[in-house]
Symmetry: C2
Subunit: 519 residues, 2 copies
């Protein structure tokens, strides 16, 4: 299969249906197909050859969807840039992948000069904004208009479809190489689980460079759904789009869902009757939020998806919301879900052997969705994919019904006196103290216990609290051996470009010259 | 992906749910997994090595499903025998595929001596019947009981899963080589179109050796459904099974549906409320039958599937029954359907170029479901798969909504004076005459028109009718140029093992020493 297959299918079966809706701009599948065939041709005229990488640095738009289709149509390989990264990180990913063409919109115009000065590989710039094309760039619309439509190159199967950079929390970003089969199998699995149909209207509210939205988008491309796009997450824009375009499905993260439910417009008589499914990821929904969501949107399914870029991206899907028993739904509510239709998921020990149900180990996955490898990093590829199983680095357990519960990143788990302690659980306890704004719990060396629990805490402004008080607070909530032995106060926590806490930075001074068992 | 993946998924997620129900015998997924792992081991103990073919010649049973799983589990390749074939044809397919083990049940016990005497490749015989194991054979249940369960060999992706012999209407049977990806992608596509879920109860009433049931079965394996099995088609057994096991989906052919609807038990208060979908194939349902079906089973979807062994097997699926407009449903009722989710379908001319909508050409298909080739027949493989497109040999057209309508086998189409004439249409007209029992319409050489329409007719017993009367009858129903120019009466028509009329035999005497344009 291949990325543009769903577009061809829609052109064959429903050419005059709406394919994309962005602001006041709507296009049918027939029009979209024509534009994609022209843009693909335009990219070739700028030198894109089979397998060449083409980058895009932009907010969401209908043009972003055209980019997703036109690059493979012309035989190229996608490289969607992380819009949250610094210029230095973006330039690293452009040059690492040796992208030669960069499509950029108004939001990132200010970054062009720096990229032009520093990138060693980008040759051509295409301006996909709404204003005048700046000097030294090609205009997106001119390129589409002046190019003669070409036939689809039909790159498919194991051909490389895209290089998706993932920040991680250590070292340089890694380019995840995903094939057409990788992406299509993940998309098809979502359809097989009952999501997406030709009558779906999917809203792209999460950033389109990210594989969460991209991956679900592949499913909706295959399904022949209508794509509604807003530039970026904005609760009001979401409400307006749902009502105007009859949106039925979207993807959000729990904090976005919270903001969306809390929006004043939500209180008014907003007609959200078209909504059927909200996918969410990154973390489980707190119970209070689930209850509130069920109250405000009783007919909407909230479906947790768990995965990673390396899995294109689907590993598990939690559709327990469909189960008739409320007790069952409640028991599975915090689960990441069960293995999707294309992928096998297991929990294994350090030797790769499956552990009994309920025992924490590393979550691993195998299937046609497992990436081809990290771009130019064969050693890291071999370390990540062992015997065909992608090692996620996430610690979790599986219950008797095959539901996976994530407890922590493996390397953030603390082993103290032989007991596993999950930093996430300790942080959750700390977060309930009124003085705590943020916290990071790490394992530091201990002569007696191997490791001991250490908390790094950021206080709320103008509040004072003693370390012993926080430790006492934790003891009321979690077992004694899990509670911090020591607390350190800081003004900020070190964050990665993607906003993840860099625990490796926090641990570094403590472990200088020593080796952790888990690293 | 791989054939046993759904079984593993079910063992992980619902080990105590019913996997198979046959007569009074029910087994859970946990039990089934244990038996499959033991049978796989037993087959290895009889010499089955990676890639070796293992044949089964049997009516439907739960053991047939175990065979489907155990052979790939042990690293082998399936070779399900066509139960309608003569001993000579079966022995040909066993030896052609070099199968070394044959599993056989009570129904085919009488054939053993002949196979033993004539097959050059079968070494071991396994008796899977319900009685005493005959001398010189291994007992199926003993093999399962005495073997130690082994781990799944996890043959997958492009690894060969099975060799499925297809009769065709010319020459020797051909072994269609299907990989794990071929079969799983076709199955996943069925799920993606909204069929099959973990709560489905699928009834195997059509013969399990045939890829129609096998292919749909793969989808229900992946879904984690319950499999209910009856030995062979029998309207009463179907009614009993639906009521007793809560069957929700099955596959039948239109003549079976007719017999099923006409059964006296149907008139009584049979509780068929669990039924959701009846797949059917081989031919469209006559309108009278559709109407009757809708009246008797108003809540059941009748879904036409079109495909072939070489497509593992799905090409198109007609789910127009879900369309809200009755006029639309009626217009699409005779269509083979639209391209399934994994496959691309086009109508092309002799040069492989797509023809305009509404124009008849050859139906071709491309996708991960296209077979790897014909076993040991590279020339026929190259002739069938051109530029990645499987040439079905079926003539048809596509309408504006992407629905494919099959008109005739390409080689049975008659070109007379530049006009295309579909033998099926002429035969349909002939069949409405009360004196006609069966007919075959062929093209024979004509000095003026290239070909002319010739009908071979079998009369009903004790009836007389003149050739001119039949021609006159046709003229009332179809255009003059389509009507037979000559009629020949015969006592029988030559049939293939699969019951298809061998038109090539009928044409042969007329074309001796001449070449047809289409052959």
């Amino acid at each position: 299969m291949y990325l543009t297959q769903g577009l061809h299918r829609s052109i064959q079966q429903k050419p005059d249906a709406i394919a994309t809706s962005y602001g006041d701009r709507k296009r049918t599948f027939r029009e979209l197909g024509e534009r994609v065939a022209r843009l693909a041709s335009g990219l070739q005229s700028l030198g894109m050859k089979t397998g060449d990488r083409v980058a895009m640095l932009a907010l969401n738009s209908d043009r972003y969807l055209e980019y997703q289709m036109a690059v493979p149509w012309g035989g190229g390989v996608l490289n969607p840039c992380n819009i949250r990264w610094s210029a230095a990180e973006i330039i690293y990913s452009l040059d690492d992948s040796a992208s030669t063409i960069l499509i950029i919109d108004d939001a990132f115009k200010p970054m062009i000069e720096r990229i032009r000065a520093e990138s060693k590989t980008i040759v051509h710039y295409i301006y996909a904004g709404e204003g005048e094309t700046p000097a030294g760039m090609y205009g997106y619309e001119e390129l589409v208009a002046r190019s003669y439509p070409i036939e689809d190159a039909v790159r498919r199967g194991d051909d490389l479809a895209g290089v998706f950079y993932t920040g991680g929390t250590t070292g340089f970003p890694k380019g995840v190489m995903l094939s057409h089969t990788n992406l299509c199998s993940s998309g098809l699995a979502l359809l097989a689980d009952g999501f997406g149909s030709a009558s779906s209207v999917y809203l792209h509210a999460a950033p389109m460079f990210h594989l969460a939205d991209f991956g679900i988008g592949v499913a909706y491309w295959l399904a022949g759904a209508t794509h509604v796009i807003i530039p970026k997450f904005d609760p009001e824009a979401i409400l307006v789009a749902i009502e105007r375009d009859g949106v039925s499905e979207t993807l959000l993260v729990p904090t976005m869902i919270q903001m969306f439910l809390d929006h004043p417009l939500m209180q008014k008589e907003c007609n959200l009757g078209s909504m059927k499914t909200i996918f969410y990821g990154a973390s489980p929904m707190p119970e209070a939020l689930i209850n509130r969501a069920a109250q405000v949107l009783p007919n909407v399914e909230f479906v947790q998806a768990y995965g990673m870029t390396e899995l294109a991206p689907l590993a598990t899907l939690n559709v327990s919301c469909r189960h008739p028993s409320e007790a069952f739904r409640r028991a599975k509510q915090r689960a990441a879900g069960r293995a999707g239709f294309c992928v096998e998921v297991r929990i294994v020990d350090e030797a790769g052997k499956e552990v009994p149900r309920g025992t924490v180990g590393e979550v691993v996955a195998r299937g046609p969705n497992v990436m081809q490898g990290y771009w130019g990093k064969p050693d890291q590829t071999v370390a990540a994919i062992r015997d065909g199983w992608m090692h996620t680095g996430d610690g979790g357990y599986m219950d008797e019904d095959g539901y996976v519960f994530i407890v922590d990143r493996i390397k953030d788990m603390i082993i103290s006196g032989g007991e596993n302690i999950y930093s996430a659980e300790v942080e959750s306890a700390l977060s309930t103290h009124p003085a705590v704004a943020a916290s990071a719990v790490i394992g530091v060396p201990d002569a007696d216990w191997g490791e001991r629990v250490h908390a790094v805490v950021v206080k709320k402004p103008g509040v004072t609290v003693a370390d012993q008080e926080l430790i006492k607070h934790c003891k009321q909530l979690i077992a004694g051996y899990k509670c911090p032995r020591s607390v350190e106060f800081r003004d900020t926590l070190p964050l990665s470009g993607a906003g993840k806490i860099l625990k490796v930075e926090l641990r570094k001074p403590y472990w200088e010259g020593q080796k952790r068992n888990v690293s």
